[in-house]
């Protein structure tokens, strides 16, 4: 059985994955730039003005993909963490750690753009809307993960402790989400839901999808680039890493 596993996990060895990630990285980076470029152009110049919200609504072309990514990246981290804990693969934890800052970034963007959107629409920077509150808590979860993994010096402990924390978090996210939703209805806060506020035209939908795909490509590119640095740092004493440095390819 173990020989089959070795085949499966061939790409989970840093020595194999490092050059592979290096080859994939430019493709995703270029795709990200192109898609986000097109998406932004469409957001500002092609998508029609919303009849109810005016021009201000255009911020949702960033806000919504960022909010999607912020939640999705946490799930991907949970996937890698589970994989790492079960099969004890080094790469999994590195992937989770490489994704965390991007996840936190998107969460922050979602919050920030939410506040920017809220000012003209609701007349206030911050509304204790269920979704915004959940995003805020998600940001705390990302912060906790990053703080924990960077506080532990021993990388193997950091990997496994971080993985456990992400799994605990992922079990809690639905509970947190529903409790916030419940709290929100009880307190009769803002009942305006800006994503369902107006019907979307086809152009709006395409713009949103292109932006979302652009964010995807960006996330993958950022994670690959970060995972390469993590690998090089951790494996600095291994032969493959030293060879790369000697050849000037690192």
């Amino acid at each position: 059985m173990s020989s089959r596993l070795i085949n499966w996990f061939k790409f989970s060895s840093p020595a194999t994955f490092y050059p592979l990630a290096g080859r994939l990285l430019p493709w995703f980076a270029v795709t990200a730039v192109v898609l986000i470029g097109i998406g932004l152009y469409m957001s500002f110049f092609v998508a029609p003005t919303d009849y109810k919200q005016g021009e201000g609504y255009r911020i949702i072309f960033i806000h919504v993909p960022a909010a999607w990514m912020s939640m999705f990246i946490y799930l991907v981290m949970a996937f890698w963490s589970a994989l790492g804990l079960i099969f004890n693969t080094r790469l999994s934890a590195m992937m989770a750690q490489a994704l965390a800052p991007t996840g936190a970034l998107f969460t922050f963007i979602a919050l920030w753009t939410g506040a920017f959107w809220g000012k003209p629409m609701w007349g206030t920077w911050w509304v204790w809307d269920a979704r915004l509150t959940s995003e805020l808590i998600l940001l705390f979860l990302y912060m906790g993960y990053i703080a924990l993994t960077s506080a532990i010096e021993d990388t193997r402990r950091a990997d496994r402790a971080g993985a456990l924390l992400v799994l605990v978090g992922v079990v809690n996210i639905p509970i947190i989400y529903y409790s916030v939703e419940w709290w929100n209805t009880l307190h009769q806060g803002s009942t305006i839901n800006f994503r369902k506020e107006s019907s979307m035209t086809t152009t709006m939908l395409y713009t949103m999808l292109i932006m979302a795909l652009g964010c995807w490509a960006y996330t993958i590119a950022a994670a690959l680039s970060r995972v390469r640095s993590i690998m090089l740092e951790r494996e600095r004493n291994s032969t493959w890493a030293q060879q790369l440095v000697a050849e000037g390819k690192a």
């Binding site: 004890n88 010096e153 021993d154 951790r234 600095r236 004493n237």
Partner: protein, 207 residues
């Protein structure tokens, strides 16, 4: 039978030992020695399953200890650098709690007896924190007298003990081995026990 298969352990990014193989049969004593930092404690902790090996595995009666878990723990007695006793509990209370945790609950009477035999007469119901280093070590070692686990893994058991206690402990270990038990131990002190026909394992490369 305790077996180690291709075991490698790291601390930080330093490899302590690699591809270690060894077998310990009932009635055998393994003396692990090597300089400071050669990985003796890490090896012992890996044998217990407290440390995850970088590579390889440890088996007990042919089964991976990571799968046996509690079944292995029942057969194992580990004594580390730390005594594993509570300063705020008396010697008797400590020993009884240890007994329960080890899976060999003992009566108050039996605890007093064991502490008497290890040389703690008159100190049985004192809080452990008022005892000396050597006496605290004796409380921890009293576990050996009341425990029927076949495999003992002892990390520096002779530290802080006086001559009489060292002799007593050696006798206890000898009896255990003679009775078909397995013992893995490290020590920096030269004791008779480690001379002669015992199995030896030397870690580290310099000496």
């Amino acid at each position: 039978m305790l077996q180690v298969h291709q075991l490698s352990c790291m601390r930080g990014d330093r490899r302590l030992f690699a591809d270690l193989d060894l077998t310990l049969a009932p009635g055998e004593l393994l003396y692990v020695h090597g300089h400071n930092g050669s990985g003796k404690t890490t090896l012992l902790r890996a044998l217990c399953g407290l440390v995850r090996a970088e590579d390889g595995y440890v088996s007990w009666h042919g089964q991976d200890i990571a799968e046996l878990r509690e079944d292995y723990a029942r057969d194992l007695l580990y004594l580390g650098h730390k005594n594993g006793i509570k300063g705020d509990l008396t010697a008797v209370e400590n020993l009884r709690v240890c007994g329960v945790l080890d899976g060999f609950p003992l009566t108050e009477r039996a605890a007093w007896d064991a502490l008497g035999r290890i040389g703690l007469d008159g100190h049985e119901d004192l809080e452990a924190k008022v005892l000396s280093q050597g006496q605290q070590r004796r409380v921890a070692l009293a576990r050996l007298l009341v425990n029927r686990a076949p495999l003992w893994i002892l990390d520096e058991p002779f530290v802080a003990l006086d001559v009489a206690a060292v002799a007593l402990l050696q006798q206890v270990i000898r009896d255990h081995v003679a009775g078909g038990g397995l013992v893995v131990l490290t020590t920096h002190q030269a004791v008779e026990l480690t001379e002669g026909t015992v199995k030896q394992l030397k870690l580290g490369w310099r000496d």
